[in-house]
């Protein structure tokens, strides 16, 4: 019976360089597909604009030119800043309430049963009704706008957080207890790192929902912000400006998503990377 005892160092080197080449081609593949995805999206828009009158669907070149003109003029930044401020406030409120609800529903059976009905009602009531009711109750002001943008998001976020907390690996908590970890140590050392990925995912999800709601509340009852401007230009039948304002905010949100949240994710979740 032959026994293989040696180890070929050259073979090891070859495998390492092969692994490097495969990783390189994977990155290339990702970049090419992403580029094609963007190009095809713009092409679809272009074809659509060619099939319809430019007053209904202006083409990408025309919209981007209008956006550049707005940026050079500078007024657009005021509207973006106002909308971003409302998004930040609405998101902070929605996240705080959703965290409270999500954690209590996951950790307490009584709270889970009690708030279940609230959550179902919250999900089924149309956002439009919530926003209009808040404008009537609180008044046509920024407080009502922010609350109106936050309220419809809370139930969805709370469910997300509840499921995330329920997914905590209790074996790790048992392990920490076996090593005599106190309650606070268990939370800091074992629970918080497990909850962190879910919190980041909820943040992304929440911001994505809140920004749509903020445009909605601005459109319905405010005289400033990107949502108001979109509504204003829509009333003027100026679709080029409608799309230019929408596109400006798409870029802002892409920046928040890719540059800020993406960087945080890469930093914190290095251990997940292959």
């Amino acid at each position: 019976m032959a026994l293989v005892t040696g180890f070929d160092a050259n073979a090891s080197g070859r495998i390492a360089s092969l692994a490097g080449a495969i990783a390189g081609s994977e990155r290339m593949h990702y970049a090419v597909i992403s580029f094609l995805s963007v190009v095809s999206l713009v092409a679809l828009w272009q074809f659509g604009s060619m099939a319809l009158p430019s007053s209904v669907l202006p083409g990408p070149y025309r919209v981007v030119s209008a956006l550049v003109a707005n940026v050079l003029q500078g007024d657009i930044f005021t509207d973006i800043a106002i909308t971003l401020g409302r998004i930040a406030a609405a998101f902070a409120i929605a996240m705080a309430v959703a965290l409270l609800l999500g954690f209590s529903m996951a950790l307490s059976r009584t709270a889970g049963i009690f708030f279940h009905v609230w959550i179902i009602c919250g999900i089924t009531i149309p956002a439009l009704v919530t926003i209009l009711t808040l404008y009537m109750v609180v008044g046509l002001n920024d407080t009502a706008a922010v609350l109106g943008a936050a309220a419809p998001v809370i139930p969805v976020l709370a469910i997300n957080i509840r499921e995330g907390v329920k997914g905590i690996d209790t074996r790790l908590i048992g392990m920490a207890r076996a090593f005599r970890a106190g309650r606070r140590q268990q939370i800091v050392s074992v629970m918080a790192p497990q909850v962190a990925p879910m919190l980041l995912a909820s943040t992304r999800f929440g911001i994505g929902l809140v920004w749509k709601m903020v445009l909605f509340v601005e459109l319905l009852g405010r005289g400033s912000g990107v949502g108001y401007k979109i509504e204003f230009f829509y009333q003027m039948f100026n679709m080029t400006e409608v799309l230019a304002y929408a596109l400006s905010f798409v870029f802002v949100m892409l920046f928040i998503e890719v540059a800020i949240l993406g960087t945080i994710e890469r930093r914190i979740f290095r251990w997940k990377r292959n």
Partner: protein, 283 residues
């Protein structure tokens, strides 16, 4: 054959003390008529009494549901006994009346924190006691060296094999330099070759570190290979039905598994186990 075991209660437990002459008779931990009833009314453990003396390697052997893991968790202080007492006669007690148990626990699964490196996983028990990274480094690297993983300190758990993860779990348990090592079926999920290798590692560490080990297993061969004493348990309700000192001499190596003595000891333990299961079947 059972009588032969029962009559030889004074068998050697300490590998460095094959006659058992230097062994203290004072138990390091004693279970006194301990019972455990779960919230759903299940009687997990009934009337269990067990003295474990310093330097012993005691295996709790039995079928699923016999309460062996419950007994181990009670010894670890993870939950209280419904009736009876667990005493630590050689330990001092805190002001709160808690025994200062110098114990460590190895779980059935490695239970490593996936977001932390091997180093940070092993450091955890010391970190929970307030030991800084710098102060802990030497002990953590020592512990990793003992399980042959000192070169993997900065790796993440997902980069390790099942056997290596379990080694990290063992290093985490031994970094606090415990007197008593509690192990809950630590190798049940591993392949046979890795399992045998880790069995040898545990025997070596037991000999080197002077631990007292309480080892839960459902494998007769593992219990016979490792232990100085085998406590056989039965289910419904969980209870001790036999306490069998193991006459095989230490040090033991893989060759022991092919000897006639090993086969005979395994057969006897197996017979007791089957008797207990027959009793269960007729209850």
């Amino acid at each position: 054959m059972l009588q032969r075991y029962s009559a030889s209660q004074d068998m050697a437990a300490d590998p460095s003390d094959p006659t058992g002459a230097g062994r203290s008779d004072r138990p390091i931990v004693a279970m006194r008529d301990v019972g455990k009833v779960f919230a759903n009314g299940t009687i997990a453990l009934s009337g269990m009494s067990l003295d474990v003396r310093p330097g012993e390697f005691v295996s709790l052997l039995g079928p699923s549901g016999c309460g062996k893991s419950t007994a181990l968790r009670l010894v670890a202080g993870l939950g209280g006994a419904s009736v009876g007492q667990i005493e630590w006669p050689t330990s001092s007690y805190t002001h709160a009346g808690e025994p200062e148990r110098e114990i460590s626990f190895v779980f059935q699964e490695p239970t490593l924190m996936p977001w932390a490196t091997v180093f940070r996983n092993v450091w955890l028990p010391l970190r929970l006691k307030g030991v800084s990274r710098r102060a802990a480094t030497e002990r953590v690297m020592d512990a990793l060296g003992m399980v042959g993983l000192d070169k993997f300190a900065e790796h993440y758990p997902r980069e390790l094999s099942g056997g290596m993860k379990m080694r990290v779990s063992i290093a985490r348990a031994l970094v606090t330099r415990p007197k008593v090592m509690l192990m809950d079926e630590p190798f049940a999920a591993l392949d046979e070759i890795t399992r045998q290798k880790l069995n040898d590692d545990i025997l070596r560490l037991w000999g080197d570190q002077g631990w007292t080990v309480i080892f839960v297993t459902h494998s007769v061969f593992e219990a016979v290979y490792l232990s100085s004493r085998i406590v056989v348990m039965a289910a419904r309700p969980g209870r001790v039905i036999a306490d069998l000192p193991n006459t095989l001499a230490y040090p033991r190596s893989g060759d022991v598994r092919t000897t006639a003595d090993f086969a005979a000891a395994s057969r006897e333990v197996s017979d007791v186990l089957h008797q207990s299961m027959d009793v269960d079947a007729h209850r």
